[in-house]
């Protein structure tokens, strides 16, 4: 396992879990092991074994890129002959070597994130936690960040522990856990999760959704889910089912679509909510913007 995805609706307990794993919070119950160590017994051991990229930026904006890395190296007890060559290699990978002596204040959000990734890997952690690493960044930049992450992962062999609201990021994971109301409701590979959804997903909108749902239950013995003014149903052979469905409904159909199940479908099935890319990123982009404005 190389990339572990940790998904869940807002308020499901993701940040709390990360807080416990990163030794920032004490668990109120249960047992935790990070890289084989118990954060409540050996917090410093866990701290040395992990790297963290927080949701919000955590760089010193008044220091240069290299000074931020130097600070990190010192508090992680790395001698100069160990961290300096590493810092150069990491900064070259994230394309910041030429800007190493510039004050972080002058960096864009994307550059700050890249610097944080380099910093998080400087002490060669066994697990790198990434809490919504690309939130508030535009799609191009997100792609950019991911190409760096993939490259670094190949070079360092570090496990990535990732929380995200983005479907495409979840798809990159080797294994995914979905948390809801503080409980893990699923733990599987993306394909394994998708196979839990029965075959294909049909989404339709009709003039009268309530009546259509009743008819579908009555005539095809299928359950439908209401979501944002559409009906969602799962069938085994979608292509063959659509003509039967259209013929069997007396309610006028406005739109109908068929697709392979996505992780979003799994997510909806398990938590009753969509991952809601747009809304979440909209709010968070605003928040990121506010923070940028208040930044020193």
């Amino acid at each position: 396992m190389r990339i572990f995805g940790f998904l869940g609706p807002n308020g499901a307990g993701k940040s709390t879990t990360i807080g416990v794993l990163c030794t920032l919070l004490r668990p109120s119950a249960g047992q935790v092991r990070v890289a084989g160590l118990d954060p409540t017994v050996d917090p410093d051991g866990v701290r040395r074994a992990i790297g963290i990229i927080f949701q919000d930026p955590s760089l010193d904006a008044q220091l240069t890129a290299l000074e931020n890395l130097a600070f990190h190296a010192r508090v992680y007890h790395l001698p100069g002959e160990v961290w300096r060559p590493r810092a150069e290699r990491l900064l070259r990978i994230v394309d910041l070597w030429d800007r190493r002596n510039d004050v972080v204040k002058t960096f864009s959000g994307d550059m700050k994130r890249r610097l944080e990734i380099a910093r998080g890997l400087l002490h060669q952690p066994r697990v790198l936690f990434l809490d919504e690493p690309t939130i508030g960044l535009d799609p191009q930049t997100r792609e950019h960040i991911w190409s760096y992450l993939e490259q670094l992962r190949a070079e360092t062999g570090t496990t990535l522990f990732l929380t995200t609201h983005y479907m495409d990021e979840a798809e990159r994971c080797d294994r995914i856990a979905i948390i809801d109301h503080g409980q893990i409701v699923a733990l599987d590979t993306p394909d394994g999760l998708k196979s839990r959804v029965g075959g294909d997903v049909i989404t339709l909108r009709t003039r009268d959704n309530a009546r259509a749902a009743a008819l579908i239950r009555e005539r095809f013995a299928l359950d439908t889910a209401h979501l944002d003014g559409t009906l969602r149903l799962e069938v085994t052979d979608g292509e063959a089912f659509i003509p039967r469905l259209v013929a069997g409904l007396d309610v006028p159909i406005e739109t109908i679509s068929l697709r392979r199940p996505s992780l979003d479908d799994v997510f909806i099935r398990l938590t009753g909510r969509a991952m809601r890319d747009e809304e979440v990123s909209g709010i968070d982009r605003m928040r990121a913007h506010m923070r940028a404005r208040w930044r020193r």
Binding site: R47, D56, S58, Q124, E155
Partner: protein, 281 residues
């Protein structure tokens, strides 16, 4: 595929000893404050505005009608000069704790809190860093001495360094203690303004602390800054004489006894600040 994973060197930093880990934390946080201090030159210059206003306008203004003070016949502006040096140190030190709130607000505190260093080294490193920068500002303030007719031998400046540092450390630790509990900048500023002005006015920076009404005498003796100001004044103005010096229960204080009181207060404050940081989050 797997051979690659195995071949990659997978080494977390080795566990250092407790003392080494704490020292790494203290020195790194100390160094960071110095770096930031020297980077922000406009703030260094800006922080002199208020003390210089007090010294040259308030001080010179009152000098005209105050006559001569003490045995050596000091002018009022000369009398308050060490007080204004102390004021610079006091304000810088006590408000410097605001940087903890900034760090919390802008996430850098998290980077420190998840680092493998003990929490107490964070408080101590911060206090040392902030008192060093406050001391540097106090020393820069000393360079105005010739303008008010105070002559400072290099020997005296050397003697002042530890006294200024100690005063700065005690007040930085007080600031840290407050900041450890504060979540918002507004709250911190409110509490600090509430604390700082009484500490400043009662410290004897602006008037001698002798022959005061009884209640005021009590309050001034409870102000830790009063002992710092007294020590700094004794060294800066050797001719000031006992009439202008601080007394405690009828005994005149010396720079050494003053320093001991400040040290005791500083030790208590840093201990409380350390505890406050250890119990949070």
């Amino acid at each position: 595929m797997t051979s690659r994973t195995v071949a990659v060197e997978h080494r977390s930093p080795r566990a250092p000893g407790r003392v080494t880990a704490a020292l790494d934390g203290i020195v790194t946080l100390w160094y960071r404050d110095l770096l930031r201090f020297f980077r922000d030159r406009s703030r260094i210059v800006g922080s002199f505005a208020q003390p210089l206003l007090y010294l040259f306008i308030f001080g010179s203004g009152l000098s005209a009608s105050m006559g001569r003070l003490g045995g050596a016949g000091l002018s009022y502006v000369q009398f308050i000069f060490p007080g204004i040096v102390s004021m610079t140190v006091l304000f810088t030190a006590i408000f410097s704790a605001v940087s903890i709130i900034w760090d919390r607000e802008f996430g850098f505190l998290k980077e420190i809190l998840v680092a493998p260093i003990p929490r107490w080294s964070l408080a101590v490193g911060k206090a040392l860093g902030r008192s060093t920068t406050a001391m540097l500002q106090g020393v820069l303030m000393l360079s105005f001495a010739p303008l008010v007719g105070v002559s400072l031998a290099p020997r005296l400046v050397l003697a002042l360094l530890p006294l200024i540092f100690l005063t700065a450390f005690a007040l930085s630790s007080l600031g840290l203690l407050v900041a450890a509990r504060m979540r918002s900048l507004e709250g911190f500023q409110l509490v600090m303004n509430f604390l700082m002005m009484p500490i400043f006015f009662l410290s004897g920076a602006l008037f001698p602390l002798n022959n005061l009404p009884g209640w005021l005498t009590v309050f001034t003796r409870l102000d830790p800054a009063a002992y710092g100001v007294d020590a700094i004044r004794h060294v800066t103005l050797p001719g000031a004489g006992p009439a202008l010096g601080l007394t405690l229960f009828g005994h005149p204080m010396t720079p050494l006894t003053d320093a001991l009181v400040v040290l005791a207060f500083g030790a208590l404050m840093i201990a409380l600040a350390v505890r406050a940081f250890q119990t949070q989050e």
